[in-house]
Symmetry: C3
Subunit: 155 residues, 3 copies
């Protein structure tokens, strides 16, 4: 195998009373499609939760949006938008449109990015790598939408 694997020394273990803490973020984008950087908002929920070690679940409560983790770099954010449009294009002829809807592509884009993500919490903070940032990806916006953030872990 062409790789080296070793365990880092910084393992950690906490045993304590469990806590489950929930908040709902609300977004209303000006544009129909928009990538909103939400790392700071999620980090604040983690702090308010009081959870020291555990998992932070983040998910839109809608089927035309997604949460993803990647770079906060404007060129890449444009690349991601163009890539999603190529793989899940807006088209008039989706069968879903027979219902009167026009957002078939938004459902497919949501599936492509996966609608939810889980983030690790260590020492009371999001335990992300240097360049990992959390984004709310809106594909059918201009209306009020909710994102659930649930932090589960030990105090």
């Amino acid at each position: 195998m062409g790789h080296k694997l070793r365990l880092a020394k910084s393992g950690s273990c906490l045993e304590a009373e469990m806590k489950s803490y929930t908040e709902y973020l609300v977004f209303e984008t000006k544009k129909r499609r928009e990538m909103v950087h939400i790392t700071d908002e999620v980090e604040q929920v983690v702090r308010r939760s009081g959870v020291k070690d555990g998992l932070c679940f983040v998910s839109p409560m809608h089927i035309t949006a997604a949460i993803y983790v990647n770079d906060l770099e404007s060129g890449l954010i444009e690349d991601i938008g163009e890539w999603l449009e190529k793989l899940a294009p807006a088209r008039p002829d989706y069968k879903h449109h027979r219902t009167g809807e026009s957002n078939g592509d938004a459902h497919l884009k949501s599936l492509l990015l996966h609608h939810e993500t889980t983030l690790p919490v260590t020492n009371g903070r999001l335990d992300l790598g240097t360049w990992q940032r959390v984004f709310y990806a809106e594909f059918d916006g201009q209306r009020r939408k909710r994102v659930i953030v649930k932090v589960l872990g030990v105090e």
Copy 2:
């Protein structure tokens, strides 16, 4: 930033004894490919778990199926099937087929939808948005397959 963000008032926090509860659902689809709506079955597992607040993990124990969350609308379900076929087509020439298998596309479709999902549990119920429904996506069926549902949280 072209969006408004505010925190909803309905934060909640529960501290209590932790519980981990597991059931296995069994599927045997008549067709090779089939989208099976399983929100009610997963909701019933959550109720039996007695967990009031936490996370519900749902995953096939197979590599040619997936779990996804989206709309219970027959046109869209057809769109999703056609989209998966376009991006991960059934083809004779996958290298995997040298093993005698013929389901290379089913593996790729499973990867595209992501094989597992996590769902939030609040007040003893799945905390889903109005249109969020849970589906078992079978890409190589007509045989017995298992889905694990594990509910982790506080009573």
Copy 3:
């Protein structure tokens, strides 16, 4: 509905003190792109955690890598690589490259496979199906990269 659904009898429930355990795996691949089988390494972390029932979260701390679950079969692993290259090709003209980077495709491949996964833990072991194996997918390697493994559950 063309499927049979029944609940398996093997439900299980554990109530106990909660534990959250974390280790960091370190990878340095020889090739820029490489799929590294890590089921055994993750299983060892689960054993060291002492968690009997819960969830195991696995994620690179980088935005040009992913974790996925599928078959340990060399032909399929090649198929997955070719499929990722087709859907998220290496190209010179990504806008991200204006920053001096050349790895735009690696970001998109990471998004396509989803950067993280969660695995179930039952009876102190990863509760995977017969053919489910865990892979670290590196798309921009040849340097030191970390994967966080966090096990949350009851002892």
